[in-house]
Symmetry: D2
Subunit: 438 residues, 4 copies
């Protein structure tokens, strides 16, 4: 069996969530099992030596899978059986009764997640820092590269490409920051046992968690409240949405008519049409974002569980936690590659600025009129008349204004020429950058 | 790399969507490529012999993957390169210029889906028929097995377990019927080439589709309109939701206090608590239903594409089509197994009927009063008084009614005794079953 | 209280779902109550004259709301109380005990939906027919209006604007057709009473439904299976998605750089920038589509209910059924208006065709080479070389090809000139239109 | 027009989002408009006196709506026209050219949201504190009220009802805490004008925001990045999900067979079945949670916008922001009422503890065996044998164990009797409560 999403992989994240060595997160759960034994030992709850006996055991995934095939479908029990076999082999029979004392599967599972999720977050954060670096570089390089700003797809007024990169940077930083916060909230473990009523002394939980670098959940049912995972993956979803937003805008900028930039091109494009260079990396990011957003809906549903626990949360988590992390990590890395190789066409940006015969300075015209004392509504209407004609190819803003009975009363040709200046976009550019210490 | 969802597999569906031989659906697309060549040949558009040359080629997935690793990331081009290598080996160089003439990747891809989706639907329908058979069997066996009906989780009035099975049956049949309809609508192919403007004669499309058992899409852009896939997977989602609804209700019936049935038990339950038998199969169905429902949201988004096509639909489809089908197929099969092995406890159903001291006959009491001419509102209020007391353990319905000043004016003890009869549930049971020809 | 969505209204649909006279669908439920009484009378189950007494009662919403304010929060009971008050006023006390016999609230509610949903579907279908007419008109008018086809936002090969309108038409027609089918499946009523076990003779259901133009649900719990509503609203969602897809593409075509059409402009655009004409109607359609798509997710969840019924489906249905219908109807009507007033700029389409120096004929060049016997892979690579240079402004396709050592061996200048012909888009245009009988 | 959701209202939140005085948030936007003028005045950018002139104007919603009906469909422009009319009436013509200088509609709109959302959050937080208080009260009262813990719906081991209340409390507190954090992140304003390129000095933004108690967005396009709203409403969704989780569990506890508590009953229940008391408040919470969860999906989509802004985010926000807040607030308040009036049945809890003949002590039995040196796997298997028989009514745990060849070797009757003690749930209860300082 081979799955299509091997196309969208991220080795470091896959190593936590998919590789044979880590499947089912046994490696992380094994760390938990050992740590619990060490604490229990230290508290004289179990025989001295158990922890050491467990440390001698290495997780053998193949054997676990075989045990499952032999009919033990409970994953944790298959793992424990493997552990016990190995202990026997090691001559540690005397500790067989000591392990997994007063624990339940999710003591391992959820405490394991307390290790896996923060580790994943850290990797993802690193990828995002890579994205941020590229965006900072672009922002600095193109601080004064003029281009048209657009709203509703229609030319608005001039901005700079660097300023746009700051918008993107801020979006990524917000999401990264959320992930950092959320990481703190999932560094949580639980050893409250079946029903969460503490079959064993809560001290075991406190000390084992401390050793593992985790906070014990203030309270837990048989499982940790899924609300903390919904919140964590909200942050992951925000990351994905931030990438999606940038990707969509890169795609729009690469449209043939606009062609202000191009994502790096390294594969053949269309199979039918040899001339094509498609923004297919950014399209892929947009596509995968749909999947990640949809997954998040499930995690909200998972917050509700029957009494001390029911199992509906389990199967979707097995699919969704890895999927959301790997796909988002994949896209972050892909975005970094896209930004690093982004080919920028400043002349084309400049050319596009001039497409509307000066209509894009209508706001400045309106304000100039207001400054001369024209009421806001009149100023708007007059500027609308002359600029809409310019937009549709009838004359251009300055000449139309000079021919306009009212406007020409207030503004001279020289004043009008000054208004039609894309460098207005630079007026406050330094203050804008100052907020980013750039 | 090993994925968690190997836990939820369905061999026949996986064979279409995941097995190495079929990855990327090359096998189906190869059938399309051959068929197109045969038609083009027959129409004298390409050299005679091309079709035969192609038929000699077998899809070699390993080679395709290797070509991709060598740098050709375009999947269809990697496949074509494999085909051409093989043709060269076969001494069929002269046909190299003849294949894939005036086609675009999605001519293969979407026409391939026209083969894969109906084939998948058929398998799924078979599984559903298995579910239907079990439900029919249960319905027939338990036609007269009395149990309490519940609304809002509160005892309502008596029904039979067989009647409940008819509700479930109808739900499955509705969904199955939708799937049959939807199957018809995705038996569609397209060979309209790049931009959907027919680089080649539409006759090629018509005839090749006919040979493949498909209808040509009335019109297509570079791809088939994703609306037909959204609709097809709506049917799949309905199937999954129907299974979810039954699964939830089986879980509720297995609650310790109620214990009217149990799903078959073949794995060890809780790891901590040895006494437990959990309805974990049905819980798994409920969990996976969340995933499938979430996926469907993406397919609605995919209906929108930029102009003649953009690529966002591609990556999520690669993940979602297989996932929705395999998970739903897995759950259908699991449900069949659950129903086949469902352990029914009719005595417990009977015991539960008596938990409320006759309160559950309040509606019949009310109606008996109305029959005697008591206005609806008064009848309701009196019946409420005596039945709510019974429900809360103060007396039981008959004695409370006899002590009630108004009710006792209208109804005798004998009449009251007759009202308190669970067999009222059987009054129209034959007419109900008659609608199912059971 | 005034709600924001009065902005997005549809008078005929609002009249079913929102106007004071219809709130809670009392008018439709009253029709059901009367019809049931008539049938019960005819079957000698209740006193003759009850039906007539009910027919004398008109739904008085104000009184119902007042009764609710007086403390009767059960909506159906408030309605029944209003009915009974009125019957008393009319001197029809003798029938007070006869009405609502052996019925439950959802006998009224769901049978009422069986009237409301098909009526809504019909209105929506009419609106869609309006959209279809506009699209047909555009398709006919612009059958031969050449424009560039695009994939991934990049110029592909020429098509015609009329052909694009056929794509849109087909999308709308598919959705409309689904709605027609779904309408048939919700023309369903149920009178199976509490727990769906038929407190009264199933004949009452059969005959009353027949009189109301409905099919009785084969089987029902206390409510009709929500799967039929999920399916119905899948069709509504598909309609909304079809509108969204068209709206997005209209917006893209109105971008300043492309400007191939404009939606009709009747409001002031930007408040700051007087020159702007924004495609804000189509943007609104895209926005509202997000809402409708999201709502559908809830209807899938609603398929699961506890036993014979639980109430979670009720509150979201009260919000979602009206919302999905009114928003979709509003958007259909808005789309019709947009299409009717769409301003088309064929010269701009033509101008855009020429933006890439002939690169868009690369596929035809490739095929011409294949026709001369060049293997597909070589033909592709050569065409790629010359066309990508043209796309990026180095020469144009014909001259580049003539300078290309290999291509020039196979193709003459005259042949190349013929390849670079946008009228290739017209080659099979008549066959395409023939499928639509246009 | 009357909408169904007047059923689910919250006066204080509705006053911000729906009441006529506040529709379209004009009141908040007016505060922004005034504040901007005051700052501009102070910076000598406009005539002194403008701010005072604006302060004399009160928002007149009726007039705005009338202006809209007269054909001005741009909401902000209708509002500005109303303002200007009033200024004229007040004899403040000289300031007409001074207002709304270099601003764009979303300078008002989004800065207004910066006031409305935190204000809404505060109200919601107050409601949640009410919920917390009830949960604390219950937790304290029922610290030692024994009941059975359940997993998968099956009896697990004893807990206390107070402990369960702590689980619920923690869930609400987590969500409330998220809302507090998120509130801080939406206290943001923007006055960066059209395209976000600062038509006017960024100082105006800084100072006006400071006066309004807001932080200026570090950078903005024409609108504030929607990512902050998606994040804010994630917190709202978590609140709703927390309420849903509690509501579902209250419903389960009220099931006839279990009846451990009942939500307060103040309306008539079933219309057909007079004896019923349904947990319909909690069902309503569960229903509305589906709607709120679905809405959140849209806000993730809204993060992506075309370039400096497009309008798709606008129409869904108008519907969703109010809806999510009002429905969640309504449910929080309803939950408080439910908890305050919750009728608890401790004797029934106790009765349910004894339903399984001691099977629920199987874990303690297993551990007792392990303490005696029995390997974990054997201990598990033996305990399973005797406990599963007890669960199914064959004997009870102690006698079965005494008859068990192996167990009886290790444990005496006295030891077994001690194991079967529900008060094991109290062993660490004080430590658990200590974490809550209760």
């Amino acid at each position: 069996v081979s799955t299509p999403w091997e196309r969208y992989s991220h080795p470091e994240l896959a190593a936590i969530w998919y590789t044979p060595e880590a499947v089912g997160a046994f490696v992380y759960q094994h760390r938990v099992l050992i740590q619990v034994a060490l604490v229990q030992e230290w508290m004289n709850l179990i025989k001295k030596g158990t922890g050491k006996a467990l440390q001698k055991v290495e997780v053998n995934l193949e054997r676990i899978l075989q045990i499952q095939k032999e009919g033990e479908n409970h994953q944790t029990r298959a793992y424990l059986r493997m552990v016990q076999e190995k202990m026997r082999e090691n001559g540690d029979e005397e500790f067989l009764s000591e392990i997994f004392r007063l624990m339940t599967s999710y003591d391992l599972w959820d405490t394991g997640l307390g290790l896996m999720l923060p580790e994943s977050a850290k990797i993802l954060i690193q990828d995002l820092e890579g994205v941020e670096q590229e965006l900072e570089r672009l922002a600095v390089e193109h601080r004064r590269t003029l281009m048209i700003g657009r709203s509703h797809g229609i030319h608005g007024r001039p901005i700079t490409f660097g300023k746009k990169c700051l918008d993107w940077l801020e979006k990524i930083s917000f999401a990264k920051n959320k992930l950092e916060e959320a990481e703190g909230k999932v560094k949580v473990g639980k050893l409250s046992g079946a029903m969460g009523i503490y079959s064993q002394n809560p001290r075991v939980e406190e000390w084992a968690c401390a050793e593992l670098g985790l906070t014990p959940a203030s309270v837990s049912t048989q499982i940790i409240d899924r609300i903390i995972y919904a919140d964590f993956f909200n942050a992951v979803t925000l990351v994905m949405c931030a990438l999606e937003a940038i990707a969509l805008n890169i795609r729009e900028g690469q449209r043939t008519e606009r062609r202000e930039w191009e994502e790096p091109f390294d594969i053949s494009g269309s199979n039918a049409m040899p001339h094509k260079r498609n923004p297919e990396k950014c399209e892929r990011i947009c596509g995968l974002a749909r999947k990640v957003r949809a997954d998040q809906a499930v995690l909200y549903e998972n917050i509700t569980t029957w009494e001390e626990r029911s199992l509906e949360q389990s199967s979707p988590e097995r699919l969704i936690f890895p999927e959301m992390l790997v796909l988002t990590g994949y896209c972050a890395r892909l975005m970094k590659r896209v930004l690093r190789g982004l080919v920028i066409y400043p002349e084309q940006m400049r050319r596009n600025l001039d497409l509307t015969n000066g209509a894009i300075y209508a706001e400045d015209l309106k304000d100039a009129l207001q400054q001369k004392g024209v009421p806001q509504i009149d100023a708007y209407d007059w500027a609308k008349e002359v600029s809409q004609r310019a937009y549709w190819g009838e004359g251009e803003l300055v000449s139309n204004s000079l021919q306009h009975l009212k406007i020409s009363e207030y503004l001279s040709k020289a004043e009008l020429m000054e208004i039609c200046n894309p460098e207005s976009a630079l007026r406050y550019i330094d203050q804008i950058y100052a907020r980013f210490a750039l």
